[in-house]
């Protein structure tokens, strides 16, 4: 017997059938269907002309699992083994000192799924021989009835304890409070975009205790605007992933980051993804260039021998200088059956003072190059 349906009933039936198809609810708030465990290994090495600097090995593991229908849990563990030469001021090789450090970090998060939203509570802990960090967070999402728009909000706090081995300070602290607001929007069947704003207020010890003449403000306010756009290319079946981030803080650092990635699935489960990242930042207002006191020379800041306040705010940290950076990378992944994925990623990173855009300052610093190698393995169940 054939039943006749009105156009409205037919549309409703089609919609219901469509919603049952896997993946059709592109960004619905539903728990993961499968659990997964990922292992990943990082090998990082950076260098400056004539000097191999930091070398880091970092294995990590991540587990995600659905629980009791409306919940999921996820956690990660990471260990960093870092060694090498760390300049005490600017990039002078004569000022480099050997350092070794081991960092262990873990985090855990629980997510509750609702019909149109999620709520995630998380905790993170990280420990080094001279630095301990603890963080708590609460993040949530809320989706529109048609699942084309998702709003996100977040609140997080951290408390760090700092006890450098040279005892320049003892039991110092740094505290931060961060808030997040964002929106993700389906634009077309091939396009989705996301805007995220964050604000972090921090107070406490921001100095690098192992650098000479490093005396920074005891508070820092940071703002970011992140705009991301993913586009599916019908002609190739690939996806372009573009991002732009604007960063500003109370150190008067302004930074622009432009990133692009193209993910191309190939036959037999292979995927190839080249990436390019461009970055530029201005110098902190208290950063001093590698031009030293006329009488005392390096590493003393200009004016030091003329009675300038030795406790004035200053830093020779290259990371607070003005520079530009480029990252070029390539990731190759292969799905093996439905349960396994293995990938290898190689990146080359370089930063130079002469590559800075939009801002002046910070000439004469040695370029920094880094090579990053990652190997990953994921098993789903």
């Amino acid at each position: 017997m054939i039943s006749k349906q009105t156009p409205q009933e037919l549309a409703a039936s089609l919609l219901a059938a469509a919603l049952l198809l896997p993946g059709v609810q592109a960004h619905a708030d539903e728990p993961p269907r499968n659990g997964s465990i990922s292992l990943r290994y990082l090998d990082y090495a950076d260098r400056q002309p004539g000097l191999d600097r930091i070398h880091a090995h970092s294995p990590s593991v991540s587990v995600t699992a659905p629980v009791a229908g409306d919940w999921s849990v996820e956690g990660t563990l990471t260990a960093d083994d870092v060694s090498g030469a760390s300049p005490r001021y600017h990039t002078a090789i004569s000022g480099a000192s050997h350092m070794e450090d081991e960092r262990k970090a873990g985090d855990f998060a629980v997510t509750r799924y609702f019909r149109r939203g999620t709520l995630t509570a998380g905790a993170a802990y990280s420990t080094e021989h001279d630095y301990v960090s603890r963080a708590l967070s609460l993040n949530g999402t809320l989706s529109s009835e048609d699942n084309n728009t998702t709003w996100a909000f977040g609140l997080a706090g951290s408390r760090d304890s700092i006890n450098p081995v040279n005892n320049v300070v003892v039991d110092e602290h740094k505290r931060t409070v961060s808030v997040l607001a964002g929106v993700t929007r389906v634009l077309t069947p091939n396009d989705i975009a996301q805007l995220t704003l964050t604000r972090t207020n921090g107070s406490g010890y921001y100095n690098d205790p192992y650098k000479l003449f490093d005396n920074r403000p005891r508070s820092r306010r940071e703002n970011t605007v992140l705009l991301r756009w993913n586009h599916y290319v019908d002609a190739t079946g690939g996806t372009t992933r573009l991002g732009y981030r604007y960063y500003s803080d109370s150190f008067r650092i302004r930074a622009h980051t432009l990133s692009g990635e193209y993910v191309q699935p190939l036959a037999n489960g292979w995927t190839i993804a080249p990436e390019l990242r461009l970055y530029t930042q201005s110098a902190a207002w208290f950063y001093y260039d590698p031009v030293y006191d006329a009488t005392l020379g390096a590493p003393f800041p200009p004016g030091f021998s003329n009675g300038a306040d030795p406790n004035r705010l200053s830093s020779p940290d290259q990371r607070l200088s003005g520079f530009g950076a480029v990252t070029v990378g390539l990731k190759v992944a292969r799905e093996i059956g439905k349960l396994w994925t293995v990938d290898v990623k190689v990146e080359e990173y370089e930063q130079r003072g002469s590559w800075r855009l939009f801002h002046d300052g910070s000439p004469g610093l040695a370029p920094l190059r880094a090579r990053v190698l990652q190997v990953g393995l994921t098993r789903r169940w």
Binding site: T76, T224, Y279, A325, D343, Y349
Partner: protein, 72 residues
């Protein structure tokens, strides 16, 4: 001051766009592909955040809640 102007301008532009189109559920097959999501591989993202945080002044943007480290 520039940031205070910049933030709402971008937010307004995207939200204005958000009200213009409606994509139906059965049109979202491509959007459901893993590479079309913003999350990505969690461990890979952690590594990238950690490396850039320890080598550059700017940090974060995509989320809140990670702990700090002595690397910066």
């Amino acid at each position: 001051m520039k940031v205070r102007i910049f933030f709402p301008l971008i937010a307004s532009a995207l939200l204005a766009q958000a009200g213009c189109t409606t994509v139906q559920p059965w049109e979202k097959g491509k959007l459901a592909k893993p590479e079309m999501t913003f999350g990505g591989d969690r461990l890979e993202t952690r590594y990238a955040d950690h490396i850039y945080t320890s080598r550059e002044a700017a940090a974060g943007g995509a989320g809140v809640g990670g702990g700090g480290c002595g690397c910066n």
